[in-house]
């Protein structure tokens, strides 16, 4: 098996080819544009947040590599119907996973299918691709105008 095949698993390739929730939402309550200056990836995340902080709808559009696109796609699929608080805590787990935070425990995490991005930690320059949509999400929630990878 070659070095890169544990990164480009079928699920990721599939979300890249057919991204879910890939549209500009007209009636969003929050949205934000995220940008990764290193590779030029640009993604806008849209949210419609209802009563009790429930994410009633979530979508994204823009351009980017397979990792950032599939990560955004899977993020939207995962978070639809969840609350903002859940989203924030999932972000933290996700971030801990891909940055190989020693405190991170896969088994105990709430990441579900998103755990497929674990392999990204072996590719330091790709971590920002995987987290771009997440950073943008958080900035959208916080009503910031623009998000950037750290």
């Amino acid at each position: 098996m070659s070095y890169s095949s544990d990164l480009y698993q079928q699920v990721i390739l599939d979300h890249n080819r057919k991204p879910r929730n890939f549209f500009a939402m007209e009636d969003s309550t929050h949205h934000c544009e995220g940008y990764n200056p290193l590779c030029g990836d640009k993604i806008t995340v849209y949210l419609k947040v209802g009563n009790g902080g429930v994410i009633e709808d979530i979508s994204f559009n823009g351009s980017g590599c397979a990792i950032s696109k599939s990560s955004a796609s899977m993020m939207t699929a995962f978070l639809k119907g969840k609350t903002i608080d859940t989203a924030k805590s999932v972000f933290e787990s996700f971030h801990a996973m891909v940055t190989d935070d020693p405190g991170f425990d896969q088994a105990k995490s709430n990441l579900g299918k998103l755990a497929i991005f674990e392999g990204v930690r072996e590719y330091p320059s790709r971590i920002k691709c995987a987290t771009l949509s997440w950073h943008t999400l958080i900035s959208a929630i916080d009503d910031k105008k623009e998000a950037q990878t750290e």
Binding site: S2, Y3, S4, R17, C39, G40, S63, C65, A66
Partner: protein
């Protein structure tokens, strides 16, 4: 001249042994290093020379009048002659040591630009410049009120020369253009453009970062006022670069950095500056790195720049043929006579993914905007993948490049 030709032909196996990084393993393969445009690998001649200098000849320069220091100074200063003759400059004192091409351009933008360029004056650059030859001029324009004009680039990746001529006027104070594009590989007609600029009364800076490692440079023939390049891209060390400038022009310029070694007298009321090149070399210079750069020049000269150019031309042809056979690949930059840089895009595979897949096959290329965002905008692409070749590359490495691209195309289908 058969004998000569044989002597000068590259014995690729021997040459590759000169570059230890080329034997580094990536998985099962040796690395296929196709990112020399970003930075070139260093031959042992350079690595060992710096080790030797640091081990037996090291001292500071200009200040130590004991023998060790005098010898170090002599080695360091004679480097100016080595570099001058390598690029066809007339005098060693026209060679200013800097930390790299970026610093060299900043030095001109500050020392010449700030001093002589005024509101309403125009600076001409081009669509294919590296950020190093864009941002310092943007900043200068912001500070002075000068206006930036941009030479458009044709679809094949060449300067639109008639558009260039129209941009020139009495307001044009400086034309700053690249010799070889780091993305397109285009070799610009800098001699002709320089003559046109001069006849409009403008000064000319040529960014030779991508040219100096790959072809015979003759600044006297080009007749540009400034010429800049970096050590690390021409098989020398990081931390050193060169600004060539015509001496009478250097004499009129302000220093960018101030401090020790570039002054004549200092009181708290003011300081007077030393003549060039010292004026522009404040502080302890990159002594060992200058020595390394000169070793790189000696190494290149021993092979011969014409030989290098020819080998790279052959590699480029071979690689271009391979890439043209992959239907999904679109090559960016197809100017005739271009240098050995192969930038390309594949619609279904983002460059960032391309780089990772290729890396999986041990093929090292670069993906991204290549510090040329305006050029990406020009071609309406967010990024590109670039294989940039050097004489130490092989056709076998290009075969691996092509196979890896095919694999990526298949994977992303």
């Amino acid at each position: 001249m058969k004998v000569d030709a044989t002597i000068r032909e590259i014995d690729i196996e021997t040459v590759r042994k000169d570059f230890p990084v080329l034997s580094v393993k990536m998985g099962d393969n040796s690395i296929a290093y196709l990112d020399s445009g970003a930075t070139a690998q260093k031959p042992l001649a350079v690595i060992e020379r710096m080790k030797e200098f640091d081990s037996h000849q090291y001292a500071t320069v200009h200040r130590g009048s004991y023998r060790l220091g005098e010898e170090a100074t002599q080695i360091f200063e004679s480097g100016r002659e080595t570099i001058a003759s390598f690029i066809g400059a007339k005098q060693g004192r026209e060679i200013v040591y800097t930390s790299g091409a970026t610093m060299s351009i900043n030095l001109v933008a500050y020392g010449y630009g700030r001093k002589f360029i005024r509101r309403g004056d125009e600076i001409v650059i081009s669509d294919m410049e590296h950020h190093a030859n864009i941002v310092p001029w943007l900043k200068l324009c912001e500070e002075t009120g000068a206006v930036l004009k941009v030479i458009p680039v044709t679809e094949t990746g060449e300067f639109d020369e008639s558009a260039f001529v129209k941009l020139l006027s009495a307001r044009t104070k400086l034309v700053s253009i690249t010799h070889v594009s780091n993305v397109l590989g285009t070799v610009n007609r800098v001699k002709e453009l320089s003559a046109l600029a001069h006849s409009a009364g403008a000064k000319v800076l040529v960014d030779g970062a991508q040219a100096a490692p790959h072809m015979k440079i003759d600044v006297s023939e080009i007749d540009s006022d400034f010429y800049v390049f970096s050590g690390h891209k021409m098989y020398g060390p990081t931390g050193v670069g060169v600004l060539y400038g015509k001496y009478d022009l250097l004499e009129t310029m302000d220093p960018l950095l101030t401090g020790g070694d570039m002054i004549e007298r200092v009181t708290f009321a003011g300081a007077t500056y030393a003549p060039p090149p010292q004026r522009f070399e404040a502080g302890t210079p990159p002594i060992t790195q200058v020595v390394g750069l000169c070793a790189a020049i000696d190494y290149l000269s021993a092979i011969g720049m014409e030989t290098i150019e020819e080998r790279e031309r052959e590699l480029l042809e071979y690689g271009s043929d391979l890439l043209r056979k992959i239907p999904q690949v679109r090559i960016i930059g197809t100017a005739p006579g271009k240098a050995a840089i192969l930038s390309f895009v594949v619609d279904s595979v983002h460059p960032h993914d391309m780089v990772t897949i290729l890396d999986g096959e041990g093929v090292a290329v670069r993906g991204g905007h290549h510090c040329a965002q305006p050029l990406m905008d020009r071609y309406n692409i967010p990024a590109a993948t670039r294989a940039s070749l050097a004489f130490y590359n092989t056709t076998e490495e290009l075969d691996r490049l092509s196979a890896a691209i095919r694999k990526a195309v298949a994977l992303f289908g």
